[in-house]
Amino acid sequence: MLNLGLLGFVGGLLAVGLRRPFLWVLAYIYIDVVSPQKIAWAILPSIPISLIVFLAAFGGWLVADDKTGTRFTLRQFLLTLLLLYCGYTTLTADFPDAAADKWSWVWKALVFAIFLPLTLRTRLRIEATALALVLSAASIVISAGVKTVGGGGGYGTLQSLVADNNGLYEGSTLSMAAIAIIPLVIWLARYGTVFPRHWTVSLFAGALVFACLLIPVGTQTRTGLLCAGLLAVLFLRTTRRRALWFFLMGAALVIAVPFLPQSYTERMSTIENHQADESASTRIAVWSWTLDYVADHPLGGGFNAYLGNQIRYERKDAPAGGDGYVVDKARAYHSAYFEMLGEQGWPGLLLWLLLHGLGIVQLELTRIRLRKSDDPLDQSDRMLATALQQGHLVYLFGALFVGIAYQPFVYMLIALQIALVEQVRRRRQPARRFQRTGPRVMRPLSPGNTA
């Protein structure tokens, strides 16, 4: 039944694209985020569905789409450079097979992130993409959220739609992504036109935000909790009623803590006392190994270079009698920053930081640009820029503790940012050109100039 349902849904996606080719782009986003071929195990896994839909999306854009005013932006150029550089380090990788394995999905995420802004030419397309991203992620988040309420949570044990530890199905990644999309959910409920403002929309959005907040509890990941904390602080910046927000945050915390499972509060308490926690100690040991490694290999060791590490770290709560040290091999980076540094070296890390840093700056400039406008379109765009910026900052913060440098979901958010910045630039350009050239043209005709 589920197999048939999902197969029918994917077939429907392909069919609607025949009338509106852009919908294939949304279909690819859905398939990339949800991976329906992993949920339905009968027919879909045997079809290279992701490839088919990507080719349809690209072909549809190439053949049928209007490309007037489309620009290849600086950040798309940076993405292209990063793609080429990753390709180069894969060829010279320390572990060629493992590197080729990671490259096989990273290049797709980067290519799609380069391509996506080219298709997002209209406001509605930007909204539709945000909606597709949110609803796709929601299918995982709602399932995990409801299970958390039902007591099915636990670190590494909360299972969403599939028993898989890749993509958004990995606990820490899902925690980060769930928190990062909250601002986008709120924006869609307030400014959406596909599902305009209505009490049913608000109800769904409210329930979805609640489910998103439950993910760090359900997966018991400290990263998620820290991300939620950061988002609360970021909301303080944009909310008009700061005192009320402070009060609500405090009240929510007081009410929520007694209801959290004991295993959760115990795990979260290790955030302060990280030296007693193995997961935190290995992170620090791996990070110092990475710094030593790039001192010898400044251009990086290619994907999965961490396989070569051997670390020795101290445990404060080691049993009496032992020397308190643990030796471990091939520990993952547990941080996107160190992942980039170890795998792509200083050039790769620099490119990556530039890509993300520019995004935050461009969105801030967009916010400033639209600050004084009363135009409802400008206000909507400004709030979208704010939402995307908040989501991006949550990602950059969560990425400190999780190796998610190439998470495809994030690259789609980046593509959305590029498209929004371009959309605002295009829309406001004619008015600016008029202001600059208008008076010069008018001057000879004005009475003052004839005298």
Binding site: G5, V16, S139
Partner: protein, 42 residues
């Protein structure tokens, strides 16, 4: 059961969104600026 609920709800909403997008002209082309704006901008 929970999975079925989650899949049905979100996929239903996705299908409805796509259905609504099918009939939206502004999907492929932004609507022209309002008459007042276009006069001042021309």
């Amino acid at each position: 059961m929970v999975d079925y609920f989650s899949i049905a709800l979100t996929h239903g909403l996705l299908a409805l969104a796509l259905w609504r997008l099918l009939s939206r002209d502004d999907l492929d082309r932004d609507p022209p600026v309002t008459p007042g704006d276009s006069e001042s901008g021309a």
